[in-house]
Subunit: 291 residues, 2 copies
């Protein structure tokens, strides 16, 4: 077995390789001035390789995965596993208007055509219940970071309220609540556009208590700051955020920091100063289980 | 038949649709803050659709082509033709180092899996002789803009020297020379990196004559300005450039304009102020031939 990591996931892949005691090599990546990508793998590969990369900012990365996985097969790899802790295109699971591409299924099929196994963490599955409905292969494995998140939160807080900002986040908030013993509540969210979010908090005694907003990702950060504003108006003591995937697009970070959130924590699915929760143990266990 | 154009190729597709007298619709394209693409087609499609877009800055565009072509099939299209006057990834036709992805073949197979026909103009084929070696479908059609270029040049010049800056450009320079009656010469080029180019001009009487550099594309513009500098040192009267594809990456345009080239002309494969040579007639004829 050999772990191959793209440069943007190399640090995390090093932790994973150490934990599995498996050799690691970097995939060499060059971008030409016209934005074409050049990918180079070690020329000699074992039968089973594991390609590691999260798929935030996905289009370049998907084309580079296509280049890497196809080249790996040509170099003799018989089993090619993808470890993509953040998996993109999972939200577009229906045509909201007639004629819209159902990107989840199309990108899922692309991944299914390239890989024998796909491992990811807390994918944003909304109207489907299991990952193999999106990525039609046997080993489409959805892991959850909520155990690691709960452990982290118990070290920081004796008690707190967990807030899921919308119904989709309930799965994660409920899970962390059951492991920490903290209360949890779920808000109602209405999205009018990429950056326009309306929200209503449930009735609850927020006054003078710490609240941790729980979500799978922060993209523009508008959901988090909307929730933080409402919580502060209700007298919450301090507002924190705990997310799986720190996408942080455009001005998201400044927006979050100016929006009344005292600290934000995330997993290392995407490398970021907030990424204090390492996923290597979770991923290593899953890789051992399928190997 | 229906022509579907991505927004970045809509102007040119309008000319093509007018010439063919075929209806045209725009493919709606949205980029989310996290860089995921959303593609929407007209919900009702005829049996044969023609998707139009040049593939410069290719990775986003390739993923969006995958989304569009797959969605078109789901909406009932039986024949899906791609008109991509500029086709990317054609230069990486071998592994220059062991383990390198042969991107031409991998991207070519992706396109072959999505489209029944692929039409392009002056693709950069180096070590292969026909486009279907890169894109393994029957209708992988490589057109040439050299007729249109020759017509344009004859309107501007009574006589001139055509310079191909390297052996790969000889095919286009020779073709234009035979139609204009102008002399042509071919330089020797050595490329040391994306922006490092060495060149030697053949012995020729350049003094006080106009010289037109002929090439299939200008990416960083370094090849053009290197040639222009050498030509001026040899006493050439004025140096022009005529290229098929105006890629113009990063600072290319400023570099070319400051590099001693009086004017640059290109086809409209990529929309640009230099794109004076329209390809609609060439493309329309080819579409009629396969329909």
């Amino acid at each position: 077995m050999l772990i191959l990591a793209f440069p943007d996931y190399f640090k995390q892949a090093q932790r994973l390789a150490n934990r599995l005691d498996v050799p690691l090599a970097e995939i060499a990546l060059h971008h030409f001035p016209d934005s074409e990508s050049l990918v180079r793998l070690p020329p000699s590969l074992p039968e089973h390789i594991i390609i590691c990369r999260s798929l935030n900012q996905p289009n370049d990365k998907l084309i580079e995965l296509l280049l890497a996985a196809t080249t790996a097969r040509g170099l003799g790899a018989k089993r090619v596993t993808l470890v993509a802790p953040y998996l993109s295109y999972m939200r577009q699971d229906i045509a909201n208007q007639p004629g819209e591409a159902v990107s989840q299924r199309i990108i899922g099929k692309l991944l299914a055509s390239l890989f024998d196994d796909v491992l990811t963490v807390d994918p944003h599955l909304h109207r489907i219940s299991s990952l193999d409905q999106a990525i039609p292969i046997k080993n489409a494995i959805s892991l959850s970071a909520t155990d690691a998140m709960a452990t982290f939160l118990k070290q920081q807080f004796d008690e707190a309220i967990l807030l899921g900002p919308d119904s989709e986040s309930e799965q994660w908030a409920a899970n962390i609540a059951s492991q920490t013993g903290f209360d949890y509540v779920i808000a109602n969210k209405y999205r009018w556009g990429d950056k326009q979010v309306e929200m209503r908090l449930p009735e609850y005694d927020y006054a003078n208590r710490p609240v941790i907003i729980i979500d799978d990702m922060a993209s523009t950060g508008r959901t988090l700051t909307k929730a933080a504003g409402l919580l502060q108006a209700q007298g919450a003591k301090t507002v924190y955020a705990m997310i799986t995937h720190a996408l942080f697009c455009e001005d998201a970070e400044a927006h979050i920091l100016n929006g009344g959130i005292k600290a934000i924590w995330s997993t290392d699915s995407i490398d970021h100063p907030s990424s204090l929760i390492a996923l290597d143990s979770l991923l290593a266990e899953a890789i051992r289980a399928i190997s």
